[in-house]
């Protein structure tokens, strides 16, 4: 502290004061303060975090909240519900039917892992789980599309229903790709953005294809 070398404090002036460190109330690592809270608070906090991320996906802005506090609850719920909704179609023949539950699960998780590895190998600065989190949450529009498709198919399976389904799935596919690109593209070197965006496009295209070709019994 070179600037303080020539500061002198006379002996008869008392030096007093208070040094207080403001306790950060948003630190996520304070186990000691969350250990005594009711279970409902713990669950509601996590649910609120998941819900906030869903809202971020619905209105994709360049916010870092999705990236910073990653969690995999949302992707798990979306993946399981999507895989469950894809069941029950053409289930008689095992050979030529739609994807089994395990196949959907594997495609989504393995696909997300491969895309994350790909973007990291190309020099991306995003962390592994953050990228998984973003890719998983951005499956939400497609899950909504699947729900809409099942409802439309309840009404009938003709050409008009197919056109409606095509439009809905196409729109949601575009939304998913744009949302995940908005979050992930910034962490890539600029001359490799297209190399990272293309696998994401392929990933959501495959999921959209599975949704569109779902035919009930």
């Amino acid at each position: 502290f070179p600037g303080l070398a020539d500061v002198s404090i006379s002996q008869d002036i008392p030096v007093e004061g208070e040094i207080t460190v403001p306790v950060g109330s948003h630190s996520p690592d304070e186990d000691y303060s969350t250990l005594d809270e009711p279970v409902k608070d713990t669950i509601m906090r996590d649910l609120k975090a998941v819900g906030k991320k869903f809202v971020h996906v619905m209105y994709p802005r360049k916010s870092s909240a999705l990236l910073r506090d990653w969690d995999l609850w949302g992707p798990l719920v979306l993946c399981v519900s999507l895989a469950l909704m894809l069941q029950g179609g053409s289930a008689d023949s095992k050979d030529d039917g739609g994807p089994q539950f395990a196949e959907v699960f594997v495609i989504i998780w393995f696909g997300a892992v491969v895309i994350t590895l790909n973007s990291k190998l190309l020099g991306g600065t995003i962390s592994f789980f953050q990228s998984l989190c973003v890719l998983g949450y951005c499956v939400m529009p497609l899950t909504v599309a699947m729900l809409v498709c099942r409802l439309v198919l309840l009404a009938g399976a003709g050409t008009i229903s197919f056109i409606i389904r095509l439009i809905v799935v196409g729109a949601m596919f575009g939304w998913s790709t744009l949302a995940s690109t908005a979050f992930l593209a910034d962490s890539q070197p600029p001359n490799r953005k297209a190399l990272v965006v293309y696998p994401i496009f392929l990933f959501y295209f495959v999921i959209s294809w599975m949704i569109l070709t779902f035919t009930p019994q």
Binding site: D96, G97, P99, N118, G123, T215
Partner: protein
């Protein structure tokens, strides 16, 4: 699987530390990505080798071996090692794809485009795209062929995706492995001037499969003549890329072995194309009964077209 994921997570932390401490990167600040110095480095290497290419013809395998050794110096268990196989920019990948679709007669794909920077991005994602393109196109084509028939019930045929994936990835990785082993063995017997590393062969095979992607999309057209014309055309294009790459590597050998090698390469390539066409795309213009008739008494009748 969570153990594997945690291990990977730890690995990436280590790699980040390694990258930050890498003396070759010459970064000014820790936050700056290390890609920019690396690209400059490899560009310098490329221009150097371009001049050497001009001077020495195609004989720069020694120098490229040395320079390639300098690049891939990280031990194989670090993340950095695998990053060296993805050291390509968008325009480089697009150039390589263009080179595989428009082969210039006399120019070697490996020397012209890859230049000791083989990447795994192209082969992996071209194969992935091809798998899904073939599965989706086959499904669509069958749908259109059987559309008018009253007993036809559309099925997504998802099983075929796994079969397509196994076939194409096996072809794109095992055939280069066998070819590399064979070329290494011949190299020990006959001194060849041109030799390729395993990754360069994988790269050539991967990029040469690109022409099959638009071909698979065009195979939806349910005309036999159109399909076979497409097969011949794509075989010529990708086959010529392969031949022009591998002929210099075997021409110094016994004439019979050289011709047999090139013929085998072309035969396997043709087999892949014809096999995919035959398996994933039903024959058009035939009166085929519907593939699956969902019966209500619990039995299913499955008849295939061939």
């Amino acid at each position: 699987i969570s153990c594997l994921v945690m291990y990977l997570f730890a690995e990436f932390d280590d790699a980040a530390n390694l990258l930050a401490a890498n003396p070759d990167a010459t970064t000014i600040s820790i936050d700056e990505p290390v890609e920019i110095p690396k690209n400059q480095h490899s560009h310098l290497q490329e221009t150097g080798r371009e001049e050497d290419d001009e001077l020495l013809g195609t004989d720069d395998s020694d120098k490229t071996e040395l320079l390639a050794g300098q690049k891939k110096s990280a031990p194989f268990w670090t993340f950095e090692y695998y990053q060296t196989f993805f050291d390509v920019d968008t325009y480089q990948v697009l150039d390589r794809i263009k080179g595989s679709v428009f082969p210039v007669p006399g120019k070697n794909f490996v020397r012209l485009y890859i230049r000791s920077n083989p990447d795994l991005y192209g082969p992996f994602w071209i194969c992935a795209t091809l798998v899904f393109t073939i599965a989706v196109s086959g499904n669509l084509s069958n749908f259109f062929i059987h559309l008018g028939k009253p007993t036809y019930h559309y099925v997504p045929e998802f099983r075929k995706v796994s079969i397509a994936a196994t076939t194409i990835y096996a072809y794109a990785w095992l055939v280069p492995l066998a070819l590399w082993g064979f070329l290494m063995w011949r190299n020990s017997k006959v001194m060849n001037i041109v030799s390729y590393s395993f990754l360069e062969i994988v790269c050539v095979y991967g990029y040469s499969l690109f022409i099959y992607i638009p071909t698979a999309i065009l195979w939806i057209i349910p005309q036999k003549v159109v399909r076979w014309v497409l097969v011949v055309f794509s075989l010529c294009v990708s086959g010529s890329v392969l031949v022009m790459t591998f002929w210099p590597a075997v021409r110094d050998d016994n004439r019979r072995i050289a011709v047999a090698t090139v013929a085998t390469i072309l035969l396997l390539h043709a087999l892949l194309a014809v096999g995919c066409l035959a398996y994933f795309f039903d024959a058009p213009e035939l009166d085929i009964p519907a593939p699956i008739i969902p019966a209500h008494n619990g039995t299913t009748v499955i008849t295939k077209s061939h």
